[in-house]
């Protein structure tokens, strides 16, 4: 796929025109910057995507079963498939959500599953994001703008149109809506993903609101208009994390949450997308058990595999981790966004010893994984030449009436040669993901 530097510049100019930005807090200030976009797309063949599609649907269905189970009978714990230590001390487990069944029984409506492709072509799941997976708006608008700047790229190739994401999202919201408006709840203008919140609101026709514009009365959530007239809210796509969602239930010091929204949710009067408490299922420690969940709940063999992962919690895995730490990547299960990820190969002997001591002291806090030498994708350098960089793929899986995979995704790449860290918060860029239709 050829893409000229002039076309790439045109696309980036359009990105600036439409304010495709993300925010970061740096040196005590809030800065908005353009998300570096690379015009050379990742290309996934139709057959390859079909396999990914099946595997992702299977995985997300199993994760939804897990959440339903954990917050009710917890049979997977009783049957000793997942040790209870991994569930109930997870930071993502919310005892306040026990025995609440969300509308239509859906917990993870929007799942962001991070994958990498190894050099042998095999795909590995690196992480499940079931709380507030962000990023879909970037490839969505990038495609829109690329079609303007490089129409021939789309007329000459059979690329599945990915501009149906907002429609899929709206259908997902409508499916669980308890009667009333669809709203997107944002912490506000100074949130890193504010562009995404406002863009998705525009595209889905949902209202973008802050907590101060919502109120709960008699366990019903309302939005108040500028003259004080109330309208019932039926579904909230919240972009606020669990602990800040409702100061009456979670953190009392939250100023961005909606007091008593959990009462409305508990009473079945409003859907919260994604359901509170999902963090227990995307905990890095729980990740190890997802293939087991597929077998346990669906009685199927997992189609997609995890990266080889070890739990120092288990004696054998502890020994393996300590013996092989130099070639493993160690992840702190409580961190996210690329933080808390340490490559053993990059540590001095002294730092390795410190890390080993910490793992021995807090085995539940870490997982270790084989470093997957995932493929490099070409990105365009400033002279228009191609240079290889590590890239992953975040696939978006939406669950409403059924579970569907968006035929696209967010391909993130590292801008630093040899680096495996692709997160935007750490300087990574993104590119479009083409799924070929033929």
């Amino acid at each position: 796929m050829e893409m000229s530097i002039a076309t790439a510049r045109e696309i980036n100019k359009l990105m600036a025109r439409y304010g495709v930005k993300f925010g970061i807090y740096k040196n005590g200030g809030f800065i908005e910057q353009l998300f570096p976009y690379d015009a050379i797309p990742r290309i996934i063949s139709r057959d390859e995507f079909a396999r990914l599609d099946r595997g992702l649907v299977q995985r997300v269905d199993a994760l939804n079963c897990f959440l339903r189970d954990i917050y009710s009978k917890a049979s997977i714990v009783a049957d000793k498939v997942v040790p209870e230590e991994f569930v109930y001390i997870s930071k993502g487990y919310m005892p306040e959500c026990a025995h609440i069944v969300p509308p239509a029984g859906v917990y993870s409506h929007i799942s962001g599953i991070d994958l990498v492709q190894a050099k042998d072509g095999a795909w590995y799941i690196l992480e499940d994001n079931l709380r507030i997976p962000s990023g879909a708006s970037y490839p969505l608008i990038a495609r829109e703008l690329s079609r303007i700047a490089a129409p021939e790229a789309f007329s000459d190739n059979d690329v599945t149109d990915n501009r149906n994401y907002s429609e899929m999202l709206r259908e997902t919201m409508d499916f669980v809506n308890r009667g009333g408006l669809n709203v997107i709840l944002t912490p506000g203008r100074y949130n890193a993903a504010y562009f995404e919140h406002s863009y998705l609101a525009e595209r889905t026709g949902a209202l973008l609101v802050k907590a101060s514009e919502l109120a709960v009365e008699d366990a019903v959530l309302y939005m108040k208009d500028y003259l004080g007239v109330k309208a019932k809210v039926g579904a909230v796509y919240r972009r606020i994390s669990d602990e800040y969602l409702d100061p009456m239930t979670f953190r009392a010091d939250s100023l961005i949450g909606v007091p008593h929204i959990m009462d409305a949710y508990r009473a079945g009067n409003v859907a919260i997308i994604n359901a509170p408490g999902n963090g227990v299922a995307d905990d890095k420690g729980i990740y190890y058990f997802v293939p087991k969940m597929v077998k346990y709940y669906l009685d199927e063999e997992p189609i997609l595999q995890n990266a080889p992962t070890y739990l120092p919690y288990y004696e054998d895995d502890m020994k393996f981790t300590l013996d092989n730490i130099k070639r493993l990547v160690i992840k702190d299960v409580s961190e996210a966004g690329g933080y808390g990820v340490v490559f053993g190969s990059g540590l001095s002997e002294e730092k390795l010893a410190e890390l080993k001591a910490t793992i021995i002291k807090e085995p539940r806090r870490f997982i270790s994984q084989e470093v997957i030498d995932f493929i490099d994708l070409d990105i365009m350098d400033e002279n228009g030449g191609a240079v290889p960089r590590k890239a992953d793929l975040r696939a978006y899986v939406l669950t409403g009436k059924s579970t569907r995979v968006w035929a696209s995704g967010l391909t993130r790449f590292s801008r630093v040669e040899g680096s495996f860290i692709v997160n935007s918060s750490q300087g990574g860029g993104f590119k479009d993901t083409w799924v070929l239709s033929r």
């Binding site: 406002s198 863009y199 500028y226 007239v229």
Partner: protein
């Protein structure tokens, strides 16, 4: 029942005001620049005086650059555009990405013009983009209520500036009639009846607004605020 919250109504209203402030002050500024070419080099002082802005510039050339581009001064065109953008950004889902993009383009063209020798020429695209913004609002904004609010902001700002610059009574009346038309389309309770009555009274008599300028500006600025607060 509308779907515009208090915050949106405020953002939309101020979006209209700041876009109009940038647009009308730029045009008025151009007029004063023109006068300064071959007549009075100090005419800019009158311009500042009408806007209740202190002359911290000292001379015409410093005024031109400072009044346009000083982002630290909240009275400059640069600040008006920034405030317009701030309000537009939080209304993207209401006004649409296209309308927001015109504000972004206006701001970009404005900042690019600061490096040019002839600001009047290089600022012309800014005017074009601001007009395109209004075209987008007229053509694409789905919510009639939102369109009315943003245009109320525009007309309040325009009237404010026309009053300050002692524009012709007929011209003011024509803008006022447009505002009345918009007010007839908003829901009861949005507009403050008491302050509207002041405008009605003052504008009924030609030239009377000059004698009661402070009063009319005060009522104009509170035409929506108090009612919303109440």
């Amino acid at each position: 029942m509308g779907t515009i919250t208090i915050e949106y109504s405020s953002n939309l209203y101020w979006l209209g005001r700041y876009v109009e402030r940038a647009y009308t002050t730029l045009n008025t500024f151009f007029n004063y620049c023109d006068i300064s070419l071959d007549k009075d080099k100090n005419s800019y002082k009158e311009f500042l005086d009408k806007l209740d802005i202190e002359d911290k510039y000292g001379d015409y050339k410093r005024f031109i650059h400072g009044y346009l581009y000083d982002g630290a001064d909240c009275f400059t065109v640069s600040s008006s555009l920034r405030f317009a953008h701030d309000n537009a950004l939080v209304c993207r889902n209401v006004i649409g990405s296209e309308a927001l993009a015109y504000i972004q383009l206006a701001a970009d063209a404005f900042h690019a013009s600061s490096k040019e020798k002839n600001p009047r020429l290089s600022l012309m695209p800014v005017i074009d983009y601001l007009l395109a913004f209004w075209g987008s609002i007229d053509d694409k904004l789905a919510s009639g209520e939102a369109r009315t609010i943003v245009k109320c902001g525009k007309l309040v700002e325009r009237l404010d500036l026309y009053f300050r610059f002692s524009y012709d009574h007929k011209l003011i009346n024509s803008e006022y009639e447009k505002l009345c038309y918009l007010l007839s389309r908003v829901r009861k309770g949005f507009c403050n009846a008491r302050h509207l009555a002041v405008l009605v009274e003052v504008l009924a008599i030609e030239e009377s607004y000059k004698a009661r300028l402070d009063e009319v500006l005060d009522s104009l600025s509170r035409l929506f605020e108090e009612e919303r607060a109440a």
